[in-house]
């Protein structure tokens, strides 16, 4: 059984015919060639398949492709602009928050949504906001630092940072 859907993918309109049995992750990866979103667990536990739907992170492995109809979908492929890394991507590079990279697209997207929300987050709140992502490599510390840097939080250990910041990370790693 197939259904025609129309949605925005990284700002561009996409018309396609999707199998109703397909997850959005399968549609993106197998049919549309957007392989940035990864398949880790397939059951909503790991966050590797995270994409933004109307600005909100969701696990695309447990989101049917037909549900994307009329929505704005953003994947990691749409984050860098004209070849320039976004602020969030640069923060992940600066903080050494990427090892094998399997969790990175999802984490960058969730962090991007946090930045775009315009809200402030304490370190504990940030941990909660990132809790839907599993990383088998980094131990999370550098990911937290990258998220904090993305949000303009200042690290206590680096020089030249202003004292006033929403939350100061204790940056044991440096």
């Amino acid at each position: 059984m197939h259904k025609k859907i129309t949605f925005q993918l990284n700002g561009k309109s996409v018309n396609c015919e999707v199998d109703v049995r397909q997850s959005l992750l399968d549609l993106l990866r197998s049919q549309l060639g957007f392989t940035g979103a990864k398949k880790g667990c397939g059951v909503g536990e790991c966050g590797a398949c995270t994409v933004l739907i109307d600005g909100q992170p969701i696990d695309s492995c447990i989101y049917l492709a037909v549900w994307a109809d009329g929505k704005a979908v953003r994947t990691i492929e749409g984050i860098a602009q004209n070849g320039a890394l976004s602020k969030v991507q640069q923060a992940f590079v600066d903080e050494g928050a990427v090892q094998c990279g399997f969790c990175t697209p999802g984490l960058v997207l969730t962090t991007t949504a946090l930045v775009e929300s315009g809200q402030e987050f304490t370190r504990d709140e940030l941990k909660r906001e990132l809790s839907g992502h599993l990383c088998r490599c980094t131990g999370y510390q550098n990911i937290l630092h990258a998220a904090e840097q993305s949000l303009g939080h200042k690290c206590a250990c680096k020089e030249g940072h202003q004292a006033e910041a929403p939350a100061v990370g204790e940056c044991q790693s440096k």
Binding site: T110, S131, G132
Partner: protein, 293 residues
């Protein structure tokens, strides 16, 4: 690919209930965070799905002039958590919403799906039990109201006829006005984990005594449950450590905890007495009572 044999969508309650009346094999899908997992695990095969997620009217959370709070069945846990009415009146429900899953799950999982799924670990259930929530069930010929305390029939079984859907959750002012509440989810991890025990307490305090106490527990039996013996004892008792200690003990009499890989029966029972007291202490302060050490 998910094992979906047939997929239809409804954009209104009338359309959804008409489709259900025509085809009793249709299985409702809302956020899909339980349904799709069941398909991945093979416990649901060749599914005929009725998607109700486009019925946008069912995402609303409102308060009527008479004080009844109505929560649409399709409100996501993110919406419940962010809602101002919930924050102002139903603090423990807000806490329960934030305790479930992770952000990606909360953005799609609905409160109605959480209840209709029928499991004892549903994070919204203990507080909805303690709030004496009433469920509005609709079919093509009309609607009926069922107290949530009568909705659960057994593990995974709820009082929902094949042609019915849950449309809203109602909370009467008598259940929350002047009350304080608190939800404690006890789990192995701080996030992304199913509760080992869930404890929700609602209380009202008058002249230093308990005017009302309601206790809802999850994972303390095959379904969520209330602790009626402890609640009856509490009425009129002075708010002090001795009283809440006794409430914690009596709460145990209503439970039917069992051993699972998450925790032994004995450990769960210990959690019931201890966490009921801890939840009460917070709820008492929120109800305007004095802080107990």
């Amino acid at each position: 690919m998910y094992d979906i044999k047939n997929y239809v969508e409804a954009t209104s309650v009338a359309e959804a209930t008409a489709l259900l009346a025509q085809n009793p094999e249709l299985r409702i899908i809302a956020g899909g965070t339980d349904v799709l997992i069941k398909m991945q695990h093979g416990s649901l095969v060749a599914a005929e799905l009725l998607s109700i997620r486009s019925i946008s009217a069912l995402t609303n959370i409102t308060m009527a002039e008479d004080g009844i709070i109505r929560i649409g069945a399709l409100a996501s846990f993110t919406l419940v958590h962010q809602n101002k009415l919930v924050e102002a009146n139903l603090m423990a429900l807000r806490e329960a919403a934030l305790s479930m899953g992770g952000p990606q799950i909360r953005n799609v999982a609905t409160i109605g799906g959480n209840i209709c799924n029928g499991v004892t670990s549903a994070d919204s259930a203990p507080i909805l039990f303690a709030l004496d929530a009433v469920l509005k069930l609709e079919n093509a010929s009309g609607s009926r109201l069922v107290p949530i305390t009568e909705f659960y029939r057994g593990p995974g079984q709820v009082a929902l006829a094949p042609d019915e859907m849950l449309t809203e959750i109602q909370i009467e002012p008598a259940s929350y006005v002047g009350c304080g509440s608190h939800y404690i989810k006890f789990a192995m991890r701080n996030a992304m984990d199913i509760a080992t025990l869930g404890v929700a307490v609602v209380c009202r305090v008058k002249d230093g005594c308990f005017d009302q106490v309601r206790i809802g527990l999850g994972v303390a039996g095959p379904t969520p449950l209330r602790c009626l013996e402890a609640e009856a004892y509490a009425v009129g008792q002075p708010v002090n450590q001795a009283t809440i200690g006794q409430i914690g003990q009596l709460a145990l009499n209503s439970t039917r905890a069992r051993t699972s890989w998450r925790a032994s029966k004995e450990y769960r029972e210990h959690l019931v007495t201890e966490l009921t007291q801890r939840a009460l202490k917070v709820a008492i302060v929120r109800a305007g009572g004095a802080e107990l050490a």
